[in-house]
């Protein structure tokens, strides 16, 4: 496969690094959650890409079509679960941010650290 043929995988790696960097480097807690989301999204794309088969069609049984190629539906189903988990994680994370804002008056990591001392 050519480098261009692996376009989706390049996108996955790019998004993964963008998300991971944001997660580590940003001090703003909401931005951290955004980074986490981008990071998780890259994994969604990884799974969805691996289920696709060149020339494959939707995995619905076609009568008399023994030579029809189907895409693999299982990664898609799996990632549907992971998307739900990701939404739940974001929800818990954002609600924590709200309570941190109430308790500390800020959502900047360094200011919270000064407050905690």
């Amino acid at each position: 496969m050519t480098a261009l043929g692996l376009f989706n995988y390049w996108a996955v790696i790019f998004l993964m690094m963008v998300g991971f960097y944001t997660l580590i480097a940003r001090g703003n807690l909401v931005k951290k959650i955004i980074g986490l989301n981008i990071f998780q999204t890259s994994v969604f794309i990884l799974y969805i890409t691996m289920g696709k088969i060149a020339g494959g069609t939707a995995p619905i049984f076609v009568k008399g079509g023994e030579d029809v190629i189907y895409s693999n539906p299982i990664p898609h189903v799996l990632i549907l679960t992971a998307i739900v988990v990701g939404v739940a994680t974001s929800a818990v994370g954002l609600s924590l941010v709200i309570r941190i804002k109430e308790a500390f008056g800020t959502i900047e990591e360094d200011e919270i650290q000064d407050e905690s001392l």
Partner: protein
């Protein structure tokens, strides 16, 4: 009925959690939690005795045959972990009633129990499932509820501790998903037994080592192996007492089990340790964890934080046992998994008693507690002795096997580090004992002994420490069988 035990073990608590939330009365929700945890304990013990008698139990969810359907597999290794989790759950719930009433506002108590049962569900689920994607789902169930539980702590720093855990925990879980996805791409299966069959064919590809690496980092993050332990001290320190006692003795243990399952059952000891040479990274990290984290523990003024750092060091012992990749080493690791749950459960519960009466677990406020709260501090002392590894306690049994495993491979320095760790443990345990027993209590504070509902579960664990320390044949027997099964010598 008994045929469906593996799935009922998980489904009953899963259904109980929303019921506890909907009832919305502290006492009723607590009752639901007691019922759910007792059920889990019954099912766990039943499963353990069945697997010890007849071998592994395979249960096909919804009747879909493996490897296409999700399969639950109970063998000696995970039956053991299930019993540990269920036992701690069943002891923490009666303990939680009074402790939680004091530490959490009343309107949040039903939600606390709902999250607590969910966390238990997740941990039990990770242990019984035979499907790698199912592992991820249960991992997230337990983690998300654990974040909520930790955030319920009184101190506002509980919120930041929980947030930090959420970020690191989610990264770890996502790494695990990446690893699972890469394994699926190469083998087309998610069933653990099926993966174990198919992986050797493709093990020489580049994808499988990458999958292996992602899984290693993800799982070691979840089990807080040094240097990925940063989320743990704050989370344990600021969480409500009952939550700390529960999570400290179960969550990291289940992660250690996952490590065993992935590296021995799925990848196989040959691939993990001969090809990937996992021991070369696990052993140094484990040794560093034992020494540095024990040293850090000595300088702590907050006893819960002290015990948290000690936990990271103790995880080092478990990982060290695993890194030997021998029957004796694995036995020591699995044995310590159980023994550490007993001792840390007892220690954190006794600190919960102190929190209940004194309102703080900082050393300067524990002067003379040995006289004011004799039973509580006696529990702490026995737990502490166990942590050090004094004979007649469980700590001694696991250290004994660990040292033997090191000597079996001729690793004298490693055995030395294990003993050094005991010495350091002596120092941080003594620090608490000195304050509690050799300083004058302030009589104006009028501190009295903790109520029975807190002391009784604590002492059950303390007596467990002594019982399994004196009569170790049961726990060693199960651990040896689990180790032999994981290494495939049986």
């Amino acid at each position: 009925m008994t045929h469906h035990l593996p799935v009922l073990l998980v489904v009953v608590p899963l259904v109980a959690a929303p019921i506890a939330a909907l009832l919305n009365r502290p006492r009723l929700s607590w009752g639901v939690a007691v019922a759910a945890t007792l059920w889990a304990l019954y099912a766990a013990l039943e499963l353990l005795s069945q697997t010890m008698a007849t071998g592994a139990i395979h249960y096909e969810l919804g009747g879909w045959a493996a490897p296409y359907g999700i399969e639950y597999v109970v063998d000696p290794a995970n039956a053991w972990v299930v019993v540990i989790v269920a036992l701690i759950g069943a002891l923490v719930t009666p303990y939680a009633r009074k402790s939680v009433e004091q530490e959490i506002t009343e309107d949040r108590i039903p939600l606390f129990y709902a999250a607590f049962i969910l966390c238990l569900t997740g941990l039990l689920g990770i242990a019984v499932t035979g499907d790698v994607f199912n592992v991820f789902v249960f991992l997230e169930i337990s983690s998300l509820s654990a974040y909520a539980l930790i955030a319920l702590g009184n101190d506002r720093r509980a919120l930041t501790a929980s947030f930090q855990y959420l970020i690191m925990g989610s990264v770890g879980a996502t790494f695990i998903v990446i690893g699972i996805g890469l394994m699926y791409v190469m083998t087309g299966t998610l069933n653990m037994a099926d993966l174990a069959d198919r992986l050797p064919e493709v093990a020489s590809s580049r994808t499988i080592p990458v999958a292996f690496t992602f899984l290693t980092v993800g799982i070691t993050l979840k089990l807080a192996l040094f240097p990925l332990h940063l989320w743990l001290p704050n989370a344990y320190t600021y969480a409500p007492s009952a939550v700390t006692a529960f999570i400290a003795s179960t969550a990291t243990k289940v992660a250690v089990y996952l490590l065993l399952r992935f590296f021995f059952t799925i990848f196989g000891a040959t691939f993990s340790f001969d090809v990937m040479q996992l021991d070369r990274i696990l052993m140094p990290l484990a040794l560093i964890a034992i020494v540095t984290m024990s040293l850090v523990a000595i300088y702590q003024e907050n006893v819960k934080r002290l015990l948290a750092y000690s936990s990271v060091a103790q995880i080092g012992y478990m990982v060290l046992g695993i890194s030997f990749a021998s029957v004796l080493g694995l036995t020591a690791g699995i044995l310590h998994l159980f023994n550490h749950a007993l001792m840390k459960g007892a220690l954190f519960m006794s600190m919960g008693c102190v929190m209940y009466r004194v309102g703080s677990v900082r050393l300067e406020q524990m002067n003379g507690l040995g006289r004011a709260m004799p039973w509580t501090m006696a529990a702490f002392v026995v737990g502490g002795l166990s942590l050090i590894g004094v004979p007649l306690t469980v700590g001694f049994v696991s250290k004994w096997y660990l040292v033997q495993a090191a000597l079996e491979q001729g690793m004298w320095p490693v055995a030395g580090v294990v003993l050094l760790g005991s010495l350091l443990a002596l120092m941080y345990v003594w620090k608490v004992v000195e304050v509690a027993y050799f300083r004058e209590v302030d009589p104006e504070l009028g501190i009295s002994e903790a109520p029975l509902s807190l002391l009784a579960p604590t002492w059950v664990l303390v007596l467990g420490n002594l019982y399994f320390g004196i009569n170790a044949s049961d726990s060693v027997g199960v651990a040896t069988r689990a180790a032999e099964m994981l290494l495939g010598v049986l």
